[in-house]
């Protein structure tokens, strides 16, 4: 059974008279537990696609099922609830909340979004911070830690609510290569441990080298699918 099932997914942006066909009738399936990425030149539609899969945006036409929910039909509120329950996000600029400590940032989805009781919250946050190697920094604020550390915290935040799918748009673009490898490595470990699906969009050859499945986007169309090393989940 597929985690993601896209059928004839299209997205057209209208800016005044000009129409931009960012996605042109994409159809694909992704299995649970995948560690995969979309690549493609700038403007090929990677971000657009990730936003649609992440229920942040809606396709102009076509249908999308994520975790058996027809997400292309959700209302704004339903989409927000769905994201809170099922999805995790990792951003290029880390996007930690500056007024919250490392601990509180990771706690946020459990506290504000899911309402998990305090004890369980604490256990889950600390165990995840431990796994990403940020436990001893948990009382620091985001502006007191490095970019790589921020992204590790962001990984913990994306995973803390036990999502089925984590979406990461260029998560390593602002990291040096050593740190990038470390973050990729952590994500892969998390996938192995929790079976969470990771979906990237990237230019970064380091990610390309590490993922197991690679979709190439070109001008809004899927031009190829590669099952790379491991290739065991197709």
């Amino acid at each position: 059974m597929s985690l993601i099932m896209a059928k004839n997914l299209s997205k057209t942006y209208y800016s005044g008279e000009i129409e931009v066909h960012a996605l042109k009738s994409l159809s694909f399936e992704i299995k649970p537990g995948s560690f995969m990425s979309f690549i493609g030149p700038s403007g090929s539609g990677k971000t657009t696609l990730l936003n649609i899969i992440g229920c942040l945006d809606k396709p102009t036409s076509g249908s999308l099922k994520v975790a058996n929910v027809l997400t292309s039909d959700l209302t704004r509120r339903e989409a927000a609830a769905f994201r809170g329950e099922n999805l995790g996000f990792i951003f290029q600029d880390f996007n930690l909340i500056p007024v919250l400590t490392v601990f509180e940032n990771v706690e946020y989805p459990l506290l504000i979004v899911q309402n998990v009781p305090a004890r369980e919250r604490r256990e889950r946050v600390i165990s995840l911070l431990d796994k990403v190697g940020m436990k001893d920094q948990m009382n620091k604020f985001p502006d007191q830690i490095s970019g790589g550390q921020k992204q590790r915290v962001a990984v913990a935040r994306a995973l803390v609510s036990n999502p089925k799918l984590v979406l990461a748009d260029e998560p390593t673009a602002n990291l040096d290569s050593k740190t990038a490898f470390m973050v990729i490595d952590i994500m892969k470990k998390m996938r192995d441990e929790f079976g969470v699906t990771f979906l990237f969009s990237t230019h970064d050859p380091k990610i390309v080298g590490e993922v197991e499945t690679l979709f190439t986007l070109e001008d809004g169309m899927l031009s190829s699918r590669l099952d790379g090393k491991g290739g065991n989940n197709d």
């Binding site: 927000a80 329950e85 951003f91 909340i97 500056p98 946020y108 609510s161």
Partner: protein
């Protein structure tokens, strides 16, 4: 909710200077309004007290029609003995009335045997007048502080104009109701100052002396001044007196008596009202200050944090939580301003009472302003400011909660 408070407060602390400036502005506004209310209230009460306690009384009863022609002090519109009896019965029925003082008023000539001038005469029962107008005696600035038979208290204006001193013999001449003229000699018992400024022409004699000049045997009264026990209940006392008296109708079927509170007797009511109107304007200004400053800060806060809003929206924060987050920020700003403002106002009012600010009113000098902050005023102003703070944050907060996460995240 508590968790949202934590985030909101930390965001306020994050923009320290802005938060400080806004809450200071609100605090100063609250301070200003409360001190104004306290000081103007004190001034107003003193002023009303002066007017009612040294001249008017809290309310007055006349025969209907008297007030319309009060300038000529018409004897024909006096209340007769029968009416006075009815009025006294009515007054005694109302326990909230502390004292009342019947007065005969008439116009006359005042002469020192060399020169003469016109005078407005008031014949009063000394004890009743003093009970009803407790500051009356304090207005006598020369001579013995009393109203005695055979003596007259003359206004300053005549004392200086006609060069009359305490102890001098003077004569008062008046035309009585049937047109004949009569005079009576008095000893000047004292000089009385007017409350409202120089130029008062009111002289006072004992009511029996007044009756003698006017050659009336049976008591007639021009007006009755009434003092109530609790000034704040004046309107209700006035209403009940009116109710009792309105049963008395004349031959034309119109009420005989005309009951008026001080407000309808003195032009100073307009000053009191002006103070009230000014207070309202100042409150509106405060509301405007709070509204504009908080709205401004919150619009900035939302604008600066678009990406953060995008982030928390993306990870599943419901719109109403985002709304609450910003409303709480506005609320906290307002509450901080209110608390600081209230404290400052209490300190300011306390200091004003220690310093004893004096002012003059009319001829009276050296009144001490005694501003008083009433809990009701503090609560009202605080509630208004807090409600306005939340309302001011509403539009920016709503905007934040309606943001599309994709667009917010793309924002640089």
């Amino acid at each position: 909710m508590i968790k949202l408070f934590k985030i909101a407060i930390r965001n306020l602390i994050r923009y320290k200077r802005r938060t400080l400036m806004t809450s200071t502005l609100i605090a100063i506004g609250v301070l200003f309004v409360l001190v104004f209310i306290a000081a103007s209230g004190s001034f107003k009460n003193l002023m009303i007290g002066q007017i009612t306690d040294s001249m008017l009384g809290h309310l007055q009863v006349h025969k209907r029609g008297y007030m319309a022609s009060i300038d000529s002090l018409p004897l024909t519109l006096n209340l007769n003995a029968k009416a006075i009896k009815k009025l006294e019965i009515a007054i005694k029925k109302i326990p909230e009335i502390e004292a009342y003082s019947p007065r005969i008023k008439f116009g006359g000539m005042f002469s020192n045997f060399v020169e003469s001038s016109n005078i407005r005469m008031n014949g009063v029962y000394p004890e009743k007048e003093i009970a009803c107008i407790p500051l009356f005696l304090s207005r006598i600035n020369k001579g013995e502080k009393a109203i005695k038979k055979g003596e007259i208290l003359i206004p300053e204006l005549l004392a200086t104009g006609l060069k009359v001193k305490v102890g001098d013999a003077v004569v008062v001449i008046a035309t009585n109701r049937d047109g004949s003229v009569n005079g009576k000699q008095f000893k000047v018992g004292g000089i009385i100052e007017s409350v409202t400024g120089p130029g008062g022409r009111d002289g006072y004699v004992h009511i029996e002396d007044a009756m003698e000049i006017l050659r009336i045997d049976e008591l007639e009264i021009s007006e009755v001044a009434v003092r109530v026990k609790d000034f704040s209940k004046l309107d209700s006392v006035s209403n009940s007196l009116n109710r009792v008296l309105s049963q008395n109708l004349n031959k034309q079927g119109k009420p005989v008596f005309d009951v008026r509170t001080w407000e309808k007797l003195s032009p100073f009511y307009n000053i009191a009202r002006m103070i009230d109107i000014m207070t309202i304007f100042i409150k509106i200004m405060l509301i405007a200050i709070v509204l504009i400053s908080i709205m401004n800060v919150m619009i900035m806060a939302v604008y600066e944090r678009i990406r953060e809003i995008g982030t928390i929206a993306a990870i599943g924060t419901m719109p109403e939580k985002i709304l609450s987050l910003f409303l709480i920020e506005g609320l906290s700003l307002g509450v901080t301003g209110v608390i600081v403002g209230n404290l400052l106002a209490l300190i300011a009012v306390f200091l004003m009472n220690i310093i004893e600010i004096t002012f003059n009113f009319g001829r009276q000098t050296g009144f001490i302003l005694a501003p008083e902050l009433k809990a009701g005023n503090i609560l009202f102003v605080s509630a208004v400011v807090i409600i306005v703070s939340v309302l001011a944050a509403l539009q920016p907060a709503f905007k934040a909660s309606r943001m599309e996460p994709v667009e917010a995240l793309r924002h640089v």
